[in-house]
């Protein structure tokens, strides 16, 4: 592994390869429904990829099953369209075997949080260095419209004609709860922001999770309308930026104040409160309590949905831990030979 690292750095220095978005578009026709939010996510990824400092052949896109999981076919990189729910587990194998690769997972709310929930939380727990892009449309699209683990309670769908009776997962809360080292949210309808989040995730060392609010215009149209449409967005979305106060609203007149552990919206222009009372976002807070509170904004009435990076912490990755142990023990014991492998323990001669 070490040898390879050195060679690669040299190559990067010698040959300055400049890619364009086109280089990342495969020859396959894109087959999502016209108007699907997935198109935007694909376009932002193709636009962003040339700028990530990764050679094209070192990208690997991995997916499970669902509309989102068709994503790898459309990226002209190495790709693996896996089976339902297992994308993060496949990605873990790829990354662990070759940590030099930039490994990305494209997945949906059913794929990642229902059938693949176990692999997701364990990838986060282990801090496997993979990037997980959750296309959250709060519905099963490919199977034509059943409710998903992120659908709101009471949702009427083909499988819940009288309304669902169970409670949804909040993906950000789950990611923070699983101790993911990078947790962010963006929206299909905000290309610039999405690109920014993709770049941030690419630069992160460890598990990077981005929830993307993605509109399914066939089975769940308008699910995120209040967050994406011009006249409602400003009052319903707060953009998180490191070291900046949580201010939002059409006239930037609203802020979020932490009253103990309770977040509340305050007016910062009416004299009672000022900008100084507003919660200042710290992405790098090693304590996850505030990130957890942020993640729960969407579960409270009256609070805006945060977009941006909720949390980014630095800690050693799983694959580095494994390879460092391999290197240390190899150094201590010497590289294993077949002779020492086979001819060991209590042996005897038969003459």
């Amino acid at each position: 592994m070490e040898d390879k690292k050195e060679v690669k750095v040299k190559d990067m220095a010698n040959e300055e390869v400049k890619y364009t978005a086109k280089d990342f578009a495969s020859s396959q026709d894109v087959r999502w429904c016209p108007g699907c939010g997935d198109y935007s996510i694909l376009a932002q990824m193709q636009r962003t990829s040339p700028d990530l400092g990764v050679r094209k052949e070192d990208f690997v896109w991995i997916s499970g099953i669902g509309c989102a999981s068709r994503f790898p076919y459309y990226m002209d990189t190495y790709g693996f369209h896996g089976i339902h729910g297992r994308a993060t587990a496949i990605a873990t194998g790829v990354k662990l075997n070759n940590p030099m690769l930039s490994v990305w997972v494209a997945t949906g709310d059913g794929d990642l949080l229902s059938i693949g929930g176990n692999h997701f939380i364990h990838a986060c727990r282990k801090n496997v260095g993979i990037k997980i892009l959750l296309f959250n449309n709060r519905i099963y699209g490919l199977t034509k419209g059943q409710y998903s683990p992120t659908s709101e309670k009471g949702k009427k769908t083909k499988s819940t004609p009288f309304g669902s009776v169970d409670y949804p997962f909040n993906p950000l809360r789950l990611a923070v709860g699983s101790n993911a080292s990078f947790v962010a949210r963006s929206m299909d309808r905000d290309p610039k922001h999405l690109q920014e989040m993709m770049k941030r995730a690419a630069a992160h060392i460890g598990t990077a999770f981005i929830e993307v609010f993605q509109n399914c215009n066939i089975f769940n149209d308008g699910a995120f309308e209040i967050y994406t449409e011009k006249n409602t967005k400003a009052d319903n979305v707060v953009a998180l930026e490191h070291n900046k106060p949580l201010v939002f609203g059409k006239n930037n007149d609203k802020g979020i104040r932490l009253n103990g552990f309770t977040p509340e919206v305050i007016n910062i222009t009416n004299g009672k409160y000022s900008i100084n009372d507003v919660w200042v976002h710290d992405e790098f807070d090693p304590d996850s309590t505030r990130a957890h509170i942020l993640a729960c904004f969407t579960e409270r009435k009256g609070l805006p949905a945060p977009v941006g990076v909720l949390r980014q912490i630095v800690k050693p990755t799983y694959e580095d831990g494994v390879h460092e142990q391999i290197n240390q023990i190899t150094e201590a014991k010497g590289k294993g030979t077949l002779k020492s492998l086979l001819f060991t323990g209590n042996m005897w001669d038969v003459n």
Binding site: Q28, F80, V350
Partner: protein, 614 residues
């Protein structure tokens, strides 16, 4: 008193006691010492699924059987000659297996009211005459151990734990084994606890001298070294042989070994073993579940590892969708199934061969894989190399069917010269010209183009692929073509595996066929029958899919074929289906291996009364 030494050819000893009594340790030490003496040997550990079942109960009894000989042997022995019973429950569970006139060495201190009751005895069998016909030797093991260790400063509980070493020392004396190797081992094993090390050593020495001085033993026995082929030997258990086999395959292929695994009995020892070989670059991934274990292995295979997953039957069931994915994406992985009693959780610690049809057929769609099965503990090494070679050459999953019996059993292994082992060629695709992910070589294998290779970026996945281009295809004719192609690719491996070898009389009246871990029992039974003059031949399958090329020809040569297997007749069913031959199953489904005598009787029943006799 000067005691005589009696030379004998062959002994089977069984150590039995509570699962906390250290019987596996005692048996393993006796085995290792016996190996150093140069006997041929074969072992059978038999332990309960409960880690520490309530002491004294029959379901908490743990046993370790060892057969050693100055001649070539194939099994751990049908019936013990000697039973070392540490308590009444151990006697109760094991007595029926003991040979008539067999020796019982019983820890008489343990035969008290409480233990007798726990074992379900109404009166003490050591005293009530029920053991007539056996040679019963009562040794107050617990008491002798506590006397030996009274100055050790250890608690009564700690002292009691050393009694297995007393028993071991006594058995070393009785069978004229050297005691030094275990003394050395104790030193190393308990180096962080010198008090315990000293106690175990002292208890063992006390046991040895007790044997020498007591009048309970009038004779000691000696088993001369066996006449094994020349070479360097070590004693090896199946799971250990398997683990170092895959490490060897990693070295011989130049690929890093990747193991994805989730703990499961009786396969966990492979994970433990492979976790040690970091300085061979082995990556062990203890996954969150069985599915992640195999799926990560598939990911590792995609990125160029020698990918392995190890499990038992219930785990294979969970992995089957991912094995299908590897069939469709044509990636080389090896799935080890250390079979145990099923269905469901079944008998976790007991052996069975009931996953054969699951291995060959147990996936959705037409999903052919290569299936191999080691025949003995040492063969687990060779088949690891074979499984790796075939997976890589044919870009296909290989099912590797071990079982609890050979996984935990051990035998002497003639260690091969590393240079004599064949290289495993790996040909990562580098060349851009003419590259398509599903282009084929002469074996119908597709290229292995791993991420990081410039210019070969491509996508694979579980959807049906178009021939050559590998693009997603729903074309009806392409689907049938690809289904047939994947089947043919696996079939092509028949050109690459050894033909069936008929052992015994080629023109025999009866053919005995078997597969996997029953090899020893069948071989022993066939050999004995042949020595009696019966015309019997034997073939043993180590390759189950594809079958060796000459299988049909061999089967058609015999008018009568029987197939002993530890299931309801899965190989028989398979061979009948494949070749329209009348294979009669001879089955046992008790979580235990065949005794050779059971198969021998079945063979003889065919001849007795018929015109096919000697």
């Amino acid at each position: 008193m000067e005691k005589g030494t009696l030379g004998i050819i062959d002994v089977t000893v069984r150590f039995a006691g509570d699962s906390g009594d250290g019987m596996q340790l005692t048996g393993t030490q006796f085995t290792n010492t016996t190996a150093l003496v140069g006997n041929d040997l074969s072992t059978l550990p038999d332990y309960p699924a409960e880690i520490r079942a309530p002491a004294g109960t029959t379901y908490g009894v743990s046993g370790f059987q060892l057969h050693f000989s100055s001649e070539d042997i194939h099994t751990p022995g049908d019936e013990p000659d000697v039973l070392v019973a540490m308590n009444p429950a151990a006697l109760k569970v094991n007595l029926s297996d003991l040979k008539p006139n067999g020796i019982i060495i019983a820890n008489s201190n343990a035969f008290d009211g409480k233990n007798l009751k726990l074992a379900g005895y109404e009166s003490n069998p050591l005293e009530n005459g029920s053991l007539q016909g056996y040679n019963v030797i009562q040794v107050p093991l617990s008491k002798l151990t506590s006397i030996a260790l009274e100055d050790s400063g250890l608690s009564a509980k700690e002292i009691a734990r050393s009694k297995n070493f007393f028993a071991l020392g006594m058995m070393y004396w009785l069978y004229s084994r050297p005691i030094e190797p275990t003394r050395e081992w104790i030193k190393k094993k308990f180096k962080n606890n010198p008090a315990i090390a000293a106690a175990n050593d002292k208890a063992m020495m006390a046991g040895y001298y007790f044997g020498e001085n007591t009048e309970l033993f009038t004779t000691r026995y000696e088993v001369k070294p066996a006449n094994l082929p020349k070479g360097k030997y070590r004693n090896i258990a199946g799971n250990e042989a398997l683990a170092i086999g895959f490490v060897t395959a990693s070295v011989k292929s130049g690929l890093p070994l990747f193991l994805g695994s989730y703990p499961i009995t009786p396969a966990s020892d492979i994970l433990h073993e492979l976790s040690k070989y970091k300085n061979y670059g082995v990556r062990t991934f203890q996954a969150e579940d069985e599915i992640a274990a195999v799926t990560a292995a598939v990911g590792a295979a995609f990125s160029g590892a020698l990918a392995l997953t190890t499990t038992s039957g219930p785990g294979v069931a969970l992995k089957s969708e991912t094995i299908s994915l590897a069939v469709m994406t044509e990636l080389p992985i090896v799935i080890v199934d250390v079979q145990r009693g099923g269905p469901s959780t079944g008998l976790p610690t007991k052996t069975e061969q009931s996953d054969l049809l699951q291995a060959i057929h147990g996936r959705n769609g037409e999903a052919p894989v290569i299936v191999v099965a080691p025949a003995t503990p040492a063969d687990c090494f060779d088949m690891a190399l074979e499984a790796s070679r075939l997976a890589i050459k044919y870009m296909v999953p290989v099912m590797y069917m071990s079982d609890g019996y050979i996984a935990n059993g051990s035998e002497p292994w003639r260690v091969p010269d590393p240079d004599s082992l064949p290289e495993i060629p790996v040909d990562f695709r580098k060349e851009k010209d003419g590259f398509f992910p599903y282009v084929r070589d002469e074996n119908l294998s597709r290229p292995w183009a791993i991420p990081g290779t410039p210019g070969l970026e491509h996508r694979i996945g579980g959807l049906e692929k178009s021939h050559i281009t590998g693009n997603v295809s729903y074309d009806p004719e392409n689907h049938e073509f690809m289904v047939r192609l994947r089947a043919q690719k696996v079939k092509n491996a028949e050109n690459d595996i050894p033909e069936l070898e008929v052992i015994g009389d080629q023109y025999a009246d009866l053919l005995v066929v078997g597969w996997g871990g029953t090899y020893g029992s069948i071989t022993e039974a066939v050999n004995r029958s042949r020595r009696k003059g019966y015309k019997v031949a034997q073939v043993h399958f180590r390759y189950l899919n594809p079958l060796p090329k000459n299988t049909r020809d061999v089967l058609k040569m015999y008018k009568k074929i029987i197939c002993p297997e530890l299931n309801l007749g899965q190989l028989a069913f398979y061979l009948r289906g494949m070749f329209l031959v009348d294979v009669e199953p001879f089955v046992k489904i008790q979580g235990l291996p065949f005794k050779s005598s059971e198969i021998e009787r079945k063979i003889e029943s065919y001849f007795i009364g018929g015109s096919n006799g000697r």
